[in-house]
């Protein structure tokens, strides 16, 4: 975890880094002299592209905010008479929205108390917790060449079973929480395991199967909420989990931040260890970079498919469990929100590396939390956050496009289509 930037590690660590070639978003990664490349990397390489991708996405977001702002529209009516009014209105529309976003996500400098000032950041971490864990799961799949689009369904199954353990079983303090978390892990792992098994046995494409399983899981949850086991009275809402199964708060009663965040850190370390230090992880990466070579080397590709999906789903299931046991406390059919799909974008933004995902998850959590504050403060709908998030990922995935827009030279001798 020493490498804190979302840039890929040098391909000189223990394994001969086979993932580099096949990493879905790194097709233009250059190879070249380390020393000379470092400078170029900063300006035109991955880190630079990441920053520029953000700038582009924020600019497009700003254009959208200006386009729909009422004051700007009024000023645009006499733009040729007094253009300063127009640009002033445009500037204030954008800066109001983005500062509200910052205030809601990081630090509320308008608050009277210290607790009020740092509350936004603790909220960001709270929201980031399940995002990080689920994105780690998606990333394990990516590194092994599998697209787990089904994190959403696995989160739902994890939350459902963790909730079931949490509000129906009676276990001692400590044990109860562990069993509930374990229930979520197993449920998510098995759910994704279906897709892994079908891919291994019949060749069914995991993208299609996991997408379909998302909906099956959602309807299963909706059905469960109509049964007496999961539901209280007429509401499609479960009882709250017992206090012995809740993740404890770590900053006192004032903040929602809970031990789930520690679970997220542990999960990130675990995935780092799994993918770079363990034999299983080596097998995952070998299969991901070249399944034929892995098979020739004596690895069972089919068994690896199943195992990758189980690990990937187990992490997503854990994400659902922390969301339920730490933040929500009871089940509704909206328990997963858009967590599973956000996790995919977080995994891409973090370039499928644990440290990168950790930062990307906090960034996304911040955008989501800050977006709500922005919506209340300035009336800018929170949906602009989705636009910014999706554009960032698209731009990061296409470095040549970003370089073309900013007229930067290509990092290698390879000619980039302009």
């Amino acid at each position: 975890m020493s490498d804190e930037k979302p840039t890929p590690p040098p391909p000189s660590s223990a394994a001969p880094a086979p993932t580099r070639e096949r990493d879905p978003i790194e097709h233009t990664a250059g190879t070249g002299g380390r020393a000379a490349a470092t400078l170029r990397e900063i300006s035109t390489g991955n880190f630079g592209v990441t920053v520029l991708a953000f700038v582009l996405a924020l600019v497009i977001g700003a254009i959208l905010i200006i386009a729909v702002d009422d004051d700007v529209a009024d000023a645009a009516g006499y733009i040729f008479a007094r253009p300063s009014d127009f640009f002033g209105a445009a500037w204030s529309a954008v800066s109001d929205a983005y500062t509200a976003l910052f205030r809601g996500a990081v630090l509320n400098y308008q608050a009277d108390t210290f607790a009020g000032a740092i509350r936004p950041f603790t909220e960001t971490l709270t929201v980031a917790t399940p995002l990080i864990i689920a994105a780690l799961g998606v990333a394990v799949g990516f590194r092994a060449g599998l697209f787990n689009i089904g994190a959403q369904g696995q989160v739902i199954m994890g939350a459902m079973i963790a909730g079931f353990v949490g509000f129906t079983w009676n276990l001692p303090v400590g044990v109860h929480l562990l069993v509930a978390l374990l229930g979520g892990i197993i449920a998510g792992g098995l759910w994704a395991g279906i897709a892994g098994f079908l891919k291994a046995r019949t060749g069914a494409h995991e993208v299609i199967v996991t997408i379909m399983l998302n909906y099956v899981a959602l309807y299963l949850l909706q059905y469960a909420l109509t049964t007496s086991v999961f539901s209280t009275g007429n509401q499609p809402k479960s009882p709250s989990v017992a206090s012995s199964a809740q993740l404890p708060l770590i900053l006192g009663d004032q903040f929602r931040l809970n031990a789930g965040f520690i679970v997220a850190i542990l999960a990130a370390i675990f995935v780092w260890w799994l993918m770079t230090r363990s034999t299983i992880g080596f097998r995952f990466r070998a299969v991901g970079s070249n399944a034929h070579a892995a098979r020739t080397a004596g690895m069972s590709v089919t068994a690896t498919f199943v195992l990758v999906m189980v690990v990937s789903g187990a992490l997503a299931g854990l994400a659902g469990a922390t969301q339920l046991l730490g933040t929500e406390k009871f089940l509704t059919d909206g328990i997963a929100g858009s967590l599973g799909f956000d996790a995919i974008t977080v995994a891409l933004l973090g370039r499928s590396k644990p440290a990168g995902i950790f930062l990307a998850g906090i960034l996304y959590g911040g955008l989501n939390v800050g977006g709500r504050v922005m919506e209340v403060a300035t009336g800018t709908p929170i949906d602009i956050v989705l636009v910014i998030q999706s554009l960032v990922v698209l731009f990061i995935a296409a470095p040549p496009l970003v370089r073309a827009i900013f007229r930067l030279p290509a990092p290698t001798t390879k000619e980039v289509a302009a």
């Binding site: 689009i149 046995r201 379909m212 309807y219 098979r295 949906d383 636009v387 995935a397 296409a398 496009l401």
Partner: protein, 427 residues
Amino acid sequence: MTATEVSTAPVPGAVTTTRASLRTPIVLAVLGVVALVFFGLLGSAGSTTTFGVSAGTDFVTIDPVEIPSKAGAIVLAVLALALAAWSFVMARAGRTVPVWLVAVFGVLWVLAFLTWAVADKSTSLVSLMQGSLLLAVPLAFGALGGLLNERAGVVNIAIEGQLLTGAFGAAVLASVTGNAYVGLVAAPVFALIIGSMLALFTVKYHVNQIIVGVVLNVFAVGLTSFLFSSVLKENASQLNSPPRLEVLPIPLLSQIPVIGPVLFRQTVIVYLLYIAVAVITVALFRTRWGLRVRAVGEYPQAADTVGISVERTRWSNVLLGAAVAGLGGAFFTIGSVGAFGEEMTAGKGYIALAAMILGRWSPIGALTAALLFGFADKLQQVLGVLETPIPNQFMLMLPYVVTIFAVAGLVGRVRGPAAAGEPYEKG
């Protein structure tokens, strides 16, 4: 980690032909027995089921049909089992089970199910079929859009986003102009926003197609919801109260009993669907253009060698596919409820993707699968109102479960265009 496991690796088409040909009869037999036992023998004796078979405005009205539930379901199930037995005989003789036999079996099975589920109540078969067709319209357009992409080698996960932007564009422009037909033109144009982004990132910049598709769906939700909340909500009367497409009965054809009102008393968007299915079928399989598209989707290197521009073919097909899917988006607004709502496509794009796969990348197959899913959806609505024994969540689950079974090869193997998902780099 032994050498023997190498040989068990999945190879497309590795299923032996004898097992594959017996699979269909076995599935039919099992389903037939389920119908006989659950819908027939375990059904309640003494109740009757009423089916309406004509709409009120028909030229020829037919009285509703009343049948005893238990006996009716048993007769239908036995007929279905007879078909299953016949399929066994055919498979034994080495012949493949024809599609029409499976279709007739399906109709009998569903009727048996309905007879059981609607016991002591009544339902109109005409409105059931009409509703199924309507619900199938966006799925079919989406699936057609998807297959135009995939036939050229580009996986289109972004159908959902194309439907959503199409729905948005149709609602806004139909409201502004007060003309639903302007909205119908606007829908494909708006879907091209997503389509051109898909082409730009996948064809030009070789970004992984699945990633781009997933992210574009998020983008479409974000963009339309943002514009909806910031602009449409405040000015709903000018921007979000579109006129709806009116029903245009086709003279004579719409007077045919039962199928007339179902097929020919619809809006123009449904007729466009008939045309689209026919045109795309002919174009893909009977023209030089179609041959080239399929070559690009199956083996782009070979297509390139003989002088077909892979990049241009993919660009045009991605855009064309987006436009067709966008037309389906128009159904959500001007084709049905009118006003646009946030995330109103609610995952229909993913069902369209499923319909495309289940229809094996052919337009007629896609239409059939879309009708099947539309029927499941409509049935779920009808049964939800009637309070039948099946929880409607399981009916909603059906399309997805069927698709999983389909891609897993349990109801016949499906295989898409070979190069779908692979970026093509000339050189």
